[in-house]
Amino acid sequence: MLKIDHVSKNFGELAALKDVSFTVEPGQILGLIGQNGAGKSTLFHSILNLFSYEGNITWQDQMITGSAFDQIGYLPEERSLLPNLTIERQIKYLAKLKDFNASSSLIDDWLKRFEVKGDRKTKIKLLSKGNQQKVQLICTLIHQPKLIILDEPFSGLDPVNAELLKQAILSAKENGAAIIFSSHNMANVEEVCDQLVMLNLGEIVLRGNVNEVRNQFGKINLFVTTDWTEQQLAELTGVKSVKKLLPQHYLLKLLTPEAGKQIFIQLTQGQYIEQFSQEALSLDEIFRMKAGKSNE
């Protein structure tokens, strides 16, 4: 288990992390979300022991030093491969630093799995950005780490490759790895993560199971398809705002989840209605709402 226990980090007078605590169990994926500069990378660097911090960070109840490094797979936010090396030499070098001997056949398997355009002998600098990102991911995952830290893993990947990465993350989860990743793409977080932690200005502003977090705010999103006008919908009791998505398709923001029942009666009046769907806020909305509040 990865345990972050009351971790704080200051850069001079600037507090980059303020009393951050959470845990990630083996076989669990935690999504770390937050705006740029919220402290996500600082937290990752603290986990990796790249600098000193206040508080405790342990992996399997041990400080992360020495051989514990070998159990970690880390993907930094920016691409960080040596451009003049071949794919094989790059992967082997980083794997050896993890005390893992990556055989050529294993590298071939991973290249095939991630559909990398190029073979083992291709130089990194000849690969496209997307393919470099995939090689970087292979470097992170090939030694089968027990703790995987991914800083913006989906950046630079098209939907097809993002799907490949999702599968790789889920596969690592099935193998019992504890995974923590940051992302700006809430859809990916929603789809893959079990837990999420939202950081803002170095502080945790939201934490918990993804569904629980969404339900905390109640089902105040109402999607309707109707002949009613935007004006008519806005005048309904319990409606906070109306947004036209498509002709005859609207998103109504409710003041309370309970208002939905009354609106249904008024809107349908016993007649057929093509769509009436009351849903919880998306992570994206929660993220924007929380980030906006904190910045106010």
Binding site: N36, H45, L50, L82, Y93, L97, D99, I149
Partner: protein, 405 residues
């Protein structure tokens, strides 16, 4: 240990395969080969053995005797008159013509030399003419074969070198100069390589991955050892080149003559170099390389490796100039002090060693100080290496946070 070895081998292989290192190794050989080629070409052009001359004589037997006696020059026999020979010499078709006659048992030779570089001179003609004169003398004196043989007896002359104090001092001075120039250039080259290596890492996010796999101390040690291996590779390459070139040099007359003439000097220099001087070269360069790594790590701009190598280079240049200034004063107080100061001792202790005013304990003491300084530098720089290498990112992050707020 395996991680350390991984860092060493990766850094070493990446560097030795680079064009800059290959040019560093083969560059001097290439320059030497070009120099030898030019020398050979010049020598060929100026070689009088390709010269063509004409012998003009009113005595055909004498002319014939000269032709058969002469083995070096090519003699054109079709031309018989001085006028014709002069015309051809002016046109550069001939390199000159010799007018040769005998008068009352004495040979009279006049050589009209052309303008070309390979025109024969007095030294080329004298042996054949002298031999002819001797033959004439023998004939005139009516000597027997035995008498002739007795007259041809040559004295036995052997030259043996007696090495005196003055010569010994010269050898030591030359050795010292070789040492300080080697130290100077090796430091300049490898400080720059190390600074580039560290600065390149600093500008690269891969350092985060590496530090999440091994300790910065180990990584730093690996880099230093890899650079040391490069230095040793370069030294071994030169030794190997020397061993390979030696038999070939024996076949080149000028090289053989030079080597024979300077055999004692070369032996002495090599002997002096392979002693404590070599230790000072290796340890001294190590100290500077570590210093260059430190300045590389604290440099603000990842694009400016030359700035990172500036400080070690400046110290190196100061030490070099001081060493040259005090080259003839190994007893000076400043030399004695600096022979114990790391970064300077690689220049000044060899000066004292070759000056002969230092004992083994002092040498050992100086070496020990240098080694302790290196170990402490590796320890302390290694400790802060991670922080220094990641510093750039922190300042960036701080800036971004300030901007956002």
């Amino acid at each position: 240990m395996s991680k350390l070895w991984t860092i060493i081998s990766e850094t070493y292989l990446r560097q030795v395969k680079s064009w800059s290192f290959l040019s560093l190794i083969f560059g001097p050989f290439l320059i030497l080969a070009i120099g030898m080629g030019i020398g050979y070409f010049t020598a060929s052009n100026g070689d009088s053995s390709t010269a063509k001359i004409v012998v003009v004589s009113s005595q055909p037997a004498l002319k014939q005797a000269f032709i058969s006696q002469n083995k070096k020059l090519k003699v054109e026999t079709a031309v018989t008159s001085s006028k014709q020979a002069e015309k051809l010499t002016k046109k550069d078709d001939l390199q000159g013509y010799l007018v040769l006659n005998e008068k009352q048992g004495r040979l009279q030779a006049e050589f009209y030399q052309g303008d070309s570089d390979n025109a024969p001179d007095k030294e080329d003609l004298a042996p054949s003419i002298n031999a002819l004169q001797t033959a004439v003398n023998v004939q005139q004196a009516r000597l027997t074969v035995k008498q002739v043989q007795e007259l041809q007896t040559r004295p036995q002359l052997k030259i043996k070198q007696v090495t005196g104090k003055a010569n010994d001092t010269t050898i030591k001075m030359i050795t010292f100069m070789v040492v300080i120039f080697v130290v100077y250039f090796v430091i300049l080259i490898y400080s720059s390589i190390m600074a580039q290596e560290v600065v390149a890492d600093k500008g690269h996010k891969i350092i985060e991955i590496i530090f999440s796999s091994t300790t910065p101390e180990k990584y730093f040690c690996g880099k230093v050892i890899a650079i040391l291996l490069m230095i040793i590779t370069q030294m071994l390459s030169y030794i190997a080149f020397g061993l390979i070139a030696w038999p070939f040099a024996q076949h080149i007359k000028s090289a053989r003559n030079w080597l024979t003439a300077n055999q004692s000097l070369i032996r002495q220099i090599l002997h002096n170099l392979l002693g404590s001087a070599m230790l000072y070269i290796i340890l001294g360069v190590t100290a500077y390389v570590i210093l260059a790594a430190y300045f590389g790590a604290i440099s603000k701009s990842s694009a400016n490796a030359s700035q990172a190598a500036q400080w070690p280079t400046m110290i190196c240049v100061v030490a070099f100039i001081l060493a040259l200034t005090y080259a003839t004063q190994p007893h000076a107080v400043l030399v004695k002090i600096l022979s114990y100061v790391p970064l300077f001792s690689s220049y000044f202790m060899p000066l004292r060693v070759f000056g002969g005013n230092v004992n083994v304990i002092e040498i050992m003491g100086s070496l020990l100080l240098l080694m302790v300084a290196i170990i402490l530098a590796v320890y302390y720089i290694g400790k802060s290496y991670g922080r220094l290498m990641l510093q750039q990112d922190w300042s960036k992050r701080k800036l971004s946070l300030f901007r956002r707020n």
